[in-house]
Assembly symmetry: C2
């Protein structure tokens, strides 16, 4: 095993969910030295940040930073406002189109911070666990957005301008949730530490009914891997 100091540094966006945790595992498997960046954006599910910390610890990633991003000041999403998170308990149907949980410019803001940190620590690789299959409703999860961000990043920065280009890695972009779960499982991700629910109970238990819980259940089911999640009791 190479010494950490010999490895290429990278920045990994880590939310504590299945996707970003698997992405972190991919970065490690590709022999990078990961620096994990998380965002405290007044999300209802602060449990995400706890999960992100546990996941980073479980993978022995010590370089972490949590940036405060106050989306509430600029408003506009069910994840940060007092709008209701849509539930589909009766039908189990997942929303189509751009969901109400869309946060304006979220991944743009997150990647911008990751870019700034990458430049400071001398990393030229940024990993983000977006996927265009199960989250096709979010414009900022599509490959064309990622490509445009990368292009912009290389014009925005000292490093890019001087020819040391940034690459945005999206190892999950073409995977279904089941593919991602299989991948993470193979790489040893402890999914019991991850958090997905948009609307958890006060004790942190996943609701089992929001879009994110439905995707998670469906993913484990299709992957043929037992779901370690403790869901709140169904009504």
């Amino acid at each position: 095993m190479k010494n950490l100091a010999d490895k290429k540094r990278c920045v990994v966006l880590l939310s504590g969910g299945i996707d970003s945790s698997t992405t972190l595992a991919v970065a490690l498997a590709e022999n990078f030295f990961p620096f994990a960046i998380s965002f405290d954006y007044g999300q209802r599910h602060i449990y995400e940040l706890v999960a992100a910390r546990k996941i980073a610890e479980s993978m022995k990633v010590n370089q972490t930073v949590t940036m405060k991003v106050d989306f509430r000041q600029i408003g506009g999403s069910a994840l940060t406002d007092d709008l209701d998170v849509p539930k589909h308990r009766t039908t189990g149907e997942i929303s189509s189109g751009i969901p109400v949980t869309y946060v304006p410019a979220r991944n743009t803001i997150f990647l911008s911070y990751a870019l700034g940190w990458a430049e400071v620590i001398g990393a030229h690789d940024i990993f983000i666990g977006v996927n265009a299959i199960d989250y096709s409703g979010y414009p900022d999860c599509r490959p064309e957005f990622i490509k445009a961000f990368e292009n912009m990043a290389n014009l925005a920065t000292k490093e890019g301008v001087e020819g040391r280009y940034f690459t945005i890695h999206t190892p999950l972009i073409a995977m279904t949730k089941a593919d991602i779960i299989r991948k993470g499982y193979d790489l040893g991700v402890d999914f019991s530490l991850t958090h997905s629910c948009y609307d958890p109970a006060p004790d942190g238990k996943a609701c089992g009914g929001c879009d994110s819980c439905l995707l998670r259940k469906k993913g484990f089911n299709e992957a043929g891997i037992p779901d370690p999640t403790k869901y709140a009791e169904q009504e």
Copy 2:
């Protein structure tokens, strides 16, 4: 005069310096209804934020927001770290190349927040007072960066994806500091309220010796307009 409600909304990045204050005046002159966004990024010169507020008030702009951006957590610039701000008192020479005051991904982060706010308030126009002449050292002040950001923004957002495109306006991009001062003067900007200094005295007075003060003095001088700035006494 049109009613505010009939005007097109826009977001203006307002730092309280000459450039952003003139940019705000341009947006008003172009008959936009401006929403001003400022950033509290642990800058030494907190006087900037005071200036931004005064400028907004003086132009009767009531829709304002200040976003906290903690660059210190990701490190890396003389404006936010404890590095020394370069002084050139003896020679009056302005630095060349990418300055030590460069903040990684700063304008990328600022524009990303502006984009998020714009989408929420229904604006499709964002004004930023970058210029590529006097600040050519900053990669994120160049037209190619702005164009790349605009392209990315239209792929990142619900609005862009649905064909209601964002435009990033850079009315000052090809102007010298003297041009900008003349423009602002003609539009009635009260420059006595603006703040430029990177390293002000404890009472808020401009140092007169940093790059930013030198550019300011030179600009007023070349514009043939009296500089209303109160500089700290020269040694």
